[in-house]
Amino acid sequence: MSQQNRLAQGGRIDRNRVLNFSFAGQTYKGYEGDTLASALLANGVDVVGRSFKYSRARGITGHGSEEPNGVVQLGTGDSTVPNVRATQQELYSGLVSNPVAGWPSLQFDLMSYLGKAGAMMPPGFYYKTFMYPQKLWMTYEHFIRKAAGLGKAPTAPDPDTYDKFNQHCDVMVVGGGPAGLSAAYAAAKTGARVIIADEQSEMGGHLLTFEQTINGQSSSLWLAEMVAELNAMSNVKVLPKTTVMGYFDHNFLVAIERRTDHLGERAVSGTRQRSHRIRAKQVILAAGAQERPLVFANNDVPGVMLASSVTTYIKRYAVVPGHNLIVSTANDSGYLAAIEWSKAGRNVVGIADSRPHSDGALVAEAKALGIDVWFGHGVMEVKGGRRVYSASVAAISAEGDRIIGDVKTYDCDTVATSGGWSPVVHLSCHTGSRPVWRDDIIGFVPGKALQAQHCVGSIMGDHQLADCVHGGLETGSKAAAQAGFGDGELLMTKPDIERLAEGKAQALFLVPHKKNVSRAPKQFVDLQNDVTAAGIELATREGFESIEHVKRYTAMGFGTDQGKLGNVNGMAIAARSLGKSIEETGTTIFRPSYTPSTFGALAGRDADTLFDPERYTAIHQWHIDNGAVFEDVGQWKRPWYYPQPGESLSEALNRECLATRNSVGILDASTLGKIDIQGKDAREFLNRVYTNAWSKLAIGKCRYGLMLKEDGMIMDDGVTSCLADDHFIVTTTTGGAAAVLEWLELWHQTEWPELEVYMSSVTDHWSTMTISGPNARKVLAKVCHDIDLDKEAFKFMEWRNGSVAGVTARVFRISFTGELSYEINVSANDGLFVWEALIEAGKEFSITPYGTEAMHVLRAEKGFIIVGQDTDGSVTPYDMDMGWCVGKNKAFSFIGKRSFDRPDTQKADRKQFVGLKTKNSDEVLPEGAQAVWDPKQAIPMTMVGHVTSSYYSAVLGRSIALAVIKEGHKHKGETLYFPLADGRVIEAVICDYVFYDPEGERQNV
């Protein structure tokens, strides 16, 4: 039978548009306007999942974001989305959905299997069952993560596009019910820029399922007019299908708009979802209230629903989710479900109202329809597996704490409950504000506003339509005034709305059972996390008194659920068990995200290279054309090595290294950070931030310098050249450029503003190419005719202005390879031209481009450090045997100097920079390998240092390594051992860190 629960008339659905969809492999039909949940209920689908801990059958309970059970995996393949609430997913043609709980399938369930294997899984099972033995934690964790994770993330890249809008407004209204709409309307009339968002597909909130008269006409007419008017105003942005998932600092809100999710699994055109990043001057929270279920025995059996959800399915979707209804309520609003059910022509068995009486309008209407009302009663227990088949109704005490009479059992298939209304305080909690309990409305309301925030409507416990509309208008106008629009006086008259007579609600959370809580059948508080009343009582008995601890112990309100249905009931049960009031017990704090958000919406277009840009040098295309393999250095793409056809990494590397040592190599060094420093105090500034002395550095000279943090540890290094008495160019490591500039600015701006010094990053302005090797001068001489390259005229550690290949250039004679080297800097625009000219000039010397890997090997052969590889922020210049570049006699106590005298930097057993030669010369130590003196000692061994750099050196015909070893300098010649994870132990002898040309003759030729 198709859509057996669908009514012939009514609802906000289009019966002419039939949509086919599938759930758990079965195909069904629904209508446009349905949600997946309403369509499933229309087709009589009772079971939508299995509970995660006890593996019990579960059905649809709610109708919105509060739904704990109907959580599905939507779609297939790359565009699949986990954690979608069936109650929020609009139906589209061809929709494919599957249950996500009950891993790995509805038939075979891991958790029930574990349950049968003996684990009873009491609350705290995370901490108790799985803590010991610790060795097995990894295994347990694997299972828990699978079991607890609702749904599967797609493994392939998301094929859809998402985007982000940065929005600014004067008044942001969250919630499009009567209060929110009124607030937005009043604010907009002042001229303020207004955004109003609602998570449902239509604005209207409660008015979509409930009618009352406003100014003598139907509220649905008022609603339609209001929405039309807001849509027509140019200063208002109306965002339906948009969930405000987080409310952050300084009135910053993130709202996720689902733009095409109602049309199909993939966006046919445009973006699938959009995140609005909203900075609002004033925020109005009109998020409404969520109905709270009553807790009773077996209240998780399919067929047990929220009363307001039953009403919504009937009114909005023309679906009556059953045939024989019993309502269990502690207030008037629960009656509405029975009234609509009865009007739909199906049988209401009766209404169990826990209160002694009520004179409310709805109560009178129900009685007039001939519905049985049992005051002083509650549904104590239902029976059923895959669907409710009976309910036990008991007379309960006025205090609601015990059974005082006979228990009658009635046949029924649906039980609708209402325990009251819990204001949606989530967003207010996101700002750090603690909710406040109010006995008069039996709920928590948002606490003191910490930001420019207002709350109105049922979020404040005001459920009367008149209060919502009138309060909304006043709040909207007040917020606009505070944002600078209008004087707060209403610009319209308040509509005339009749107040409905309402009986006082009772504070009932757990319907008592004949047996006490620990012996009664399970009474579920949090359906998604399978937390029971007995579990909460057990937690308090075990000594958890803070509600935050009870939450963590039981997992109540965890995960994607965020305690929407269960939290208040849980607090109330915990409070009673602790003998405290709810006010004293307090509540836990809700955190973003309000409902699960997709990564796509959060990332927007900031994916791949738009998230992490790639930086290329001016010579990049040449590297590609010549077969370079690239490596990432920060955001830069640098040639790693240039394999020739058929060459392996090590073959290419050896060739590049040997070519540089024996003839000439060329390196694109453009990524090196370059900071231009000018001003009459530039020299003094350098004296303060570098260890070296700069006072005597003459124009035309270069010097290698070390930069320390104030704790004495090496932070960066590079060569600084004097261009003029008041002009220097500083080079930094490729990765450190931005941080060094910030560091220099910090000291200048905050400590020494009196120094006249200006600095600017010029990294991208220059192309830098290094030619290195015994034939470097010959190559340069062919393309550079205006610089005297004679070794006495242009010495090592000097620089000259001139032209290279006809292009204005700065040529630095500095070396990171230990060979005769020139670093040629030209305007980036000319970089590729000059590079190609050098390649051409170098042909007769077989000039060889080399990448970063060869650069690393060549510098390691010389014992030159790389900051960040051989140093890690915990070594001083002395540890690195670089005392030679510390200017001890400088007048100013440079940054870090005082720390050389700290007890820590004076310690005798500091790690020191040394070389290592493995016993087996072919064996290359892994970088990071830990050193021990005695490999036979018991685990954990005493580690005395580690390998920082390690390579095979072609020119030496053996492996080399650099390391930091405790007291390494005095242990030269001794043998260290490196036990590896795979069980091997590598033996190596400590040696000097300069492996090649220790006298440094080759760079001075």
Binding site: F248, D249, H250, N251, F252, R279, G432, L450, E710, D711, E742, E745, L746, Q749, T750, E751, P753, S893, K897, R898, S899, D901, R902, P903
Partner: protein, 98 residues
């Protein structure tokens, strides 16, 4: 995401234009060599862990590249004022000035 008023740009800008640079008003000792190890250690390593009013430095890295100070409440994240380097805060915690 914080909304910070840069006292140099004279505009409210989003937090991701800025870098946080830690506690403000830590002055480098004029003569570090004259300090005891303890005094130097205090300057180097010890910072307030204020609950409430906190003066801190921010850097407008993607803007004017200037450092400035912020008085912020570490509990509510409310920002009371921003002011230039060298200026004194108008909002202070009484206990702090002891």
């Amino acid at each position: 995401m914080l909304h910070l008023f840069c006292p140099y740009c004279q505009e409210l800008r989003e937090e991701n234009e800025f870098h946080y640079r830690g506690q403000a008003h830590i002055v480098r000792p004029k003569d570090p060599e004259s300090l005891s190890d303890k005094e130097w250690g205090d300057y180097l390593f010890f910072r307030n862990n204020s609950k409430g009013i906190h003066h801190e430095m921010w850097y407008h890295v993607s803007g004017c590249r200037r450092f400035f100070n912020v008085t912020r409440n570490t509990v509510t994240y409310e920002i009371y004022e921003t002011y230039k380097i060298g200026e004194t805060p108008a909002v202070t915690d009484k206990e702090e000035t002891e």
